[in-house]
Protein backbone atom coordinates (compact mmCIF):
# COMPACT_ATOMS: atom_id res chain seq x y z
CA UNK A 1 0.00 0.00 0.00
CA UNK A 2 0.99 3.62 -0.54
CA UNK A 3 0.78 6.26 2.17
CA UNK A 4 1.19 10.02 1.76
CA UNK A 5 3.38 11.70 4.41
CA UNK A 6 3.27 15.42 5.33
CA UNK A 7 5.95 17.20 7.39
CA UNK A 8 5.18 20.52 9.07
CA UNK A 9 7.07 23.33 10.76
CA UNK A 10 10.66 22.56 11.67
CA UNK A 11 10.29 18.97 10.40
CA UNK A 12 10.10 19.91 6.73
CA UNK A 13 13.27 21.93 7.24
CA UNK A 14 15.04 18.94 8.82
CA UNK A 15 13.89 16.40 6.22
CA UNK A 16 14.20 18.81 3.31
CA UNK A 17 10.66 18.06 2.12
CA UNK A 18 7.07 18.96 2.96
CA UNK A 19 5.55 15.87 1.39
CA UNK A 20 6.61 12.36 0.41
CA UNK A 21 5.10 8.88 -0.09
CA UNK A 22 5.94 5.57 1.53
CA UNK A 23 5.21 2.12 0.15
CA UNK A 24 4.86 -0.84 2.49
CA UNK A 25 4.11 -4.42 1.45
CA UNK A 26 1.44 -5.04 4.12
CA UNK A 27 -2.15 -3.83 3.56
CA UNK A 28 -2.52 -2.44 7.11
CA UNK A 29 0.17 -1.43 9.60
CA UNK A 30 0.23 0.53 12.85
CA UNK A 31 1.37 4.14 12.57
CA UNK A 32 4.43 3.25 14.70
CA UNK A 33 5.74 1.09 11.80
CA UNK A 34 5.42 4.01 9.41
CA UNK A 35 7.30 6.26 11.87
CA UNK A 36 10.10 3.68 12.19
CA UNK A 37 10.37 3.53 8.40
CA UNK A 38 10.49 7.36 8.22
CA UNK A 39 13.31 7.49 10.80
CA UNK A 40 15.31 5.13 8.59
CA UNK A 41 14.65 7.20 5.50
CA UNK A 42 15.17 10.57 7.20
CA UNK A 43 17.90 10.15 9.86
CA UNK A 44 17.72 13.97 10.34
CA UNK A 45 14.20 13.62 11.76
CA UNK A 46 14.45 14.65 15.44
CA UNK A 47 13.19 12.35 18.20
CA UNK A 48 10.00 14.29 18.87
CA UNK A 49 7.73 14.94 20.64
CA UNK A 50 5.49 14.74 17.58
CA UNK A 51 1.77 15.03 17.06
CA UNK A 52 0.26 12.69 14.47
CA UNK A 53 -2.80 13.00 12.30
CA UNK A 54 -4.31 10.62 9.78
CA UNK A 55 -6.64 12.16 7.20
CA UNK A 56 -6.73 15.38 9.27
CA UNK A 57 -7.73 13.66 12.53
CA UNK A 58 -5.28 13.50 15.42
CA UNK A 59 -4.34 9.88 16.29
CA UNK A 60 -2.02 7.83 18.53
CA UNK A 61 0.86 5.73 17.19
CA UNK A 62 -1.22 2.57 17.61
CA UNK A 63 -3.64 3.81 14.92
CA UNK A 64 -3.92 1.50 11.90
CA UNK A 65 -2.77 3.01 8.60
CA UNK A 66 -4.50 1.90 5.38
CA UNK A 67 -3.77 2.34 1.70
CA UNK A 68 -4.24 5.95 0.56
CA UNK A 69 -4.11 7.48 4.03
CA UNK A 70 -2.61 10.94 4.50
CA UNK A 71 -0.29 10.89 7.51
CA UNK A 72 0.90 14.18 9.06
CA UNK A 73 3.99 14.29 11.26
CA UNK A 74 3.82 17.51 13.26
CA UNK A 75 5.95 19.29 15.88
CA UNK A 76 4.13 20.80 18.90
CA UNK A 77 1.62 23.41 17.76
CA UNK A 78 2.56 27.07 18.10
CA UNK A 79 -0.32 29.13 16.76
CA UNK A 80 -1.86 32.28 18.19
Amino acid sequence: MVVKILFFGILSGKTGTKETTIEVSEGCVPLSDIIAELKTRFPELPDGPFIYAVNEEQVQTSHTIKDGDEVAIMPPFAGG
Binding site: L6, F8, G9, I10, G13, I51, A53, E56, E57, A72, M74, P75, P76, F77, A78, G79, G80
Partner: protein
Protein backbone atom coordinates in the same frame (compact mmCIF):
# COMPACT_ATOMS: atom_id res chain seq x y z
CA UNK B 1 -22.45 35.93 5.35
CA UNK B 2 -18.88 35.99 6.57
CA UNK B 3 -17.95 32.85 8.47
CA UNK B 4 -17.48 32.91 12.22
CA UNK B 5 -14.31 30.81 11.94
CA UNK B 6 -11.67 31.85 9.42
CA UNK B 7 -8.04 31.23 8.61
CA UNK B 8 -6.91 33.87 6.16
CA UNK B 9 -3.92 35.74 4.77
CA UNK B 10 -5.56 39.15 4.75
CA UNK B 11 -5.95 41.41 7.76
CA UNK B 12 -9.23 41.64 9.67
CA UNK B 13 -11.22 44.50 11.24
CA UNK B 14 -11.94 44.18 14.97
CA UNK B 15 -14.90 46.59 14.78
CA UNK B 16 -16.61 44.58 12.03
CA UNK B 17 -16.16 41.27 13.82
CA UNK B 18 -17.53 42.66 17.08
CA UNK B 19 -20.50 44.29 15.32
CA UNK B 20 -21.35 40.97 13.68
CA UNK B 21 -21.57 39.16 17.00
CA UNK B 22 -23.47 42.02 18.68
CA UNK B 23 -26.06 41.91 15.90
CA UNK B 24 -26.94 38.28 16.67
CA UNK B 25 -29.13 39.13 19.66
CA UNK B 26 -30.34 42.00 21.86
CA UNK B 27 -29.61 39.71 24.79
CA UNK B 28 -25.88 40.41 24.32
CA UNK B 29 -24.66 42.38 27.33
CA UNK B 30 -20.96 41.50 27.22
CA UNK B 31 -18.41 41.27 24.44
CA UNK B 32 -14.96 40.03 25.44
CA UNK B 33 -12.25 40.05 22.79
CA UNK B 34 -8.69 38.82 22.65
CA UNK B 35 -6.48 40.27 19.95
CA UNK B 36 -3.01 38.81 19.51
CA UNK B 37 -0.47 41.07 17.81
CA UNK B 38 3.12 40.53 16.70
CA UNK B 39 5.77 41.87 19.07
CA UNK B 40 9.16 43.06 17.87
CA UNK B 41 10.99 41.21 20.59
CA UNK B 42 10.68 37.63 21.86
CA UNK B 43 12.90 35.57 24.17
CA UNK B 44 15.68 38.17 24.00
CA UNK B 45 15.70 38.36 20.20
CA UNK B 46 14.64 41.18 17.89
CA UNK B 47 11.94 39.89 15.57
CA UNK B 48 11.47 41.52 12.17
CA UNK B 49 8.55 39.31 11.07
CA UNK B 50 6.66 36.13 11.89
CA UNK B 51 5.76 33.52 9.28
CA UNK B 52 2.85 31.20 9.93
CA UNK B 53 2.29 27.71 8.53
CA UNK B 54 -0.87 25.63 8.93
CA UNK B 55 -2.11 22.15 8.10
CA UNK B 56 -4.93 23.72 6.15
CA UNK B 57 -7.82 21.26 6.36
CA UNK B 58 -7.09 20.16 9.88
CA UNK B 59 -6.50 23.69 11.23
CA UNK B 60 -9.89 24.89 9.97
CA UNK B 61 -11.58 21.84 11.52
CA UNK B 62 -9.77 22.42 14.82
CA UNK B 63 -10.93 26.06 15.04
CA UNK B 64 -14.51 25.12 14.11
CA UNK B 65 -14.54 22.43 16.80
CA UNK B 66 -13.16 24.99 19.26
CA UNK B 67 -16.01 27.42 18.54
CA UNK B 68 -18.64 24.71 18.94
CA UNK B 69 -17.08 23.44 22.15
CA UNK B 70 -16.87 26.99 23.61
CA UNK B 71 -20.55 27.64 22.80
CA UNK B 72 -21.47 24.36 24.51
CA UNK B 73 -19.15 24.52 27.51
CA UNK B 74 -19.83 28.13 28.57
CA UNK B 75 -23.02 30.12 29.11
CA UNK B 76 -22.41 32.33 26.09
CA UNK B 77 -24.25 33.30 22.93
CA UNK B 78 -21.61 33.05 20.19
CA UNK B 79 -17.88 32.87 19.50
CA UNK B 80 -15.84 33.91 16.49
CA UNK B 81 -12.24 32.96 15.76
CA UNK B 82 -9.96 34.41 13.09
CA UNK B 83 -6.31 33.44 12.60
CA UNK B 84 -4.07 34.98 9.96
CA UNK B 85 -1.59 32.85 8.03
CA UNK B 86 0.94 35.01 6.29
CA UNK B 87 4.09 36.97 6.97
CA UNK B 88 3.23 39.33 9.79
CA UNK B 89 5.27 42.37 10.83
CA UNK B 90 5.65 43.73 14.38
CA UNK B 91 2.52 45.57 15.47
CA UNK B 92 0.27 43.69 13.03
CA UNK B 93 -2.72 41.57 13.98
CA UNK B 94 -2.39 37.76 14.21
CA UNK B 95 -5.44 36.29 15.90
CA UNK B 96 -8.82 37.48 17.16
CA UNK B 97 -11.30 35.77 19.48
CA UNK B 98 -14.67 37.46 20.10
CA UNK B 99 -17.16 36.10 22.63
CA UNK B 100 -20.68 37.49 23.01
CA UNK B 101 -22.64 36.58 26.13
CA UNK B 102 -25.39 37.89 28.38
CA UNK B 103 -23.05 38.25 31.35
CA UNK B 104 -19.37 39.00 31.45
CA UNK B 105 -18.06 36.22 33.71
CA UNK B 106 -18.81 33.46 31.20
CA UNK B 107 -17.49 35.68 28.41
CA UNK B 108 -14.09 36.18 30.03
CA UNK B 109 -13.80 32.47 30.88
CA UNK B 110 -14.75 31.37 27.37
CA UNK B 111 -12.48 33.86 25.59
CA UNK B 112 -9.44 32.86 27.63
CA UNK B 113 -10.26 29.15 27.23
CA UNK B 114 -10.53 29.51 23.44
CA UNK B 115 -7.15 31.18 22.96
CA UNK B 116 -5.44 28.81 25.45
CA UNK B 117 -6.96 25.75 23.75
CA UNK B 118 -6.30 27.09 20.25
CA UNK B 119 -2.59 27.11 21.04
CA UNK B 120 -2.79 23.46 22.13
CA UNK B 121 -5.06 22.02 19.46
CA UNK B 122 -4.70 23.98 16.20
CA UNK B 123 -2.04 22.68 13.79
CA UNK B 124 -0.40 26.05 13.23
CA UNK B 125 3.28 26.87 13.60
CA UNK B 126 5.28 30.08 13.54
CA UNK B 127 8.78 30.95 12.49
CA UNK B 128 10.43 34.11 13.77
CA UNK B 129 12.52 36.04 11.27
CA UNK B 130 15.39 37.71 13.14
CA UNK B 131 18.58 39.49 12.08
CA UNK B 132 20.45 36.35 13.18
CA UNK B 133 18.32 34.04 11.04
CA UNK B 134 14.98 32.25 11.15
CA UNK B 135 13.81 29.98 13.94
CA UNK B 136 10.68 27.93 14.48
CA UNK B 137 8.99 28.79 17.72
CA UNK B 138 8.90 26.08 20.36
CA UNK B 139 5.75 26.55 22.46
CA UNK B 140 6.22 27.28 26.12
CA UNK B 141 4.97 24.41 28.26
Amino acid sequence: MTELVRIQEEDFCLEDEVKRLRAISNRVGSIVTFLGTARDFSDDKDVSAIEFEQYAGMAKKALSALREEANKRFDIIETSIIHRISTIKPGEQIVLIVVASEHRKAGFAACEWVIDTLKETAPIWKKEITPEGDSWVVPHP
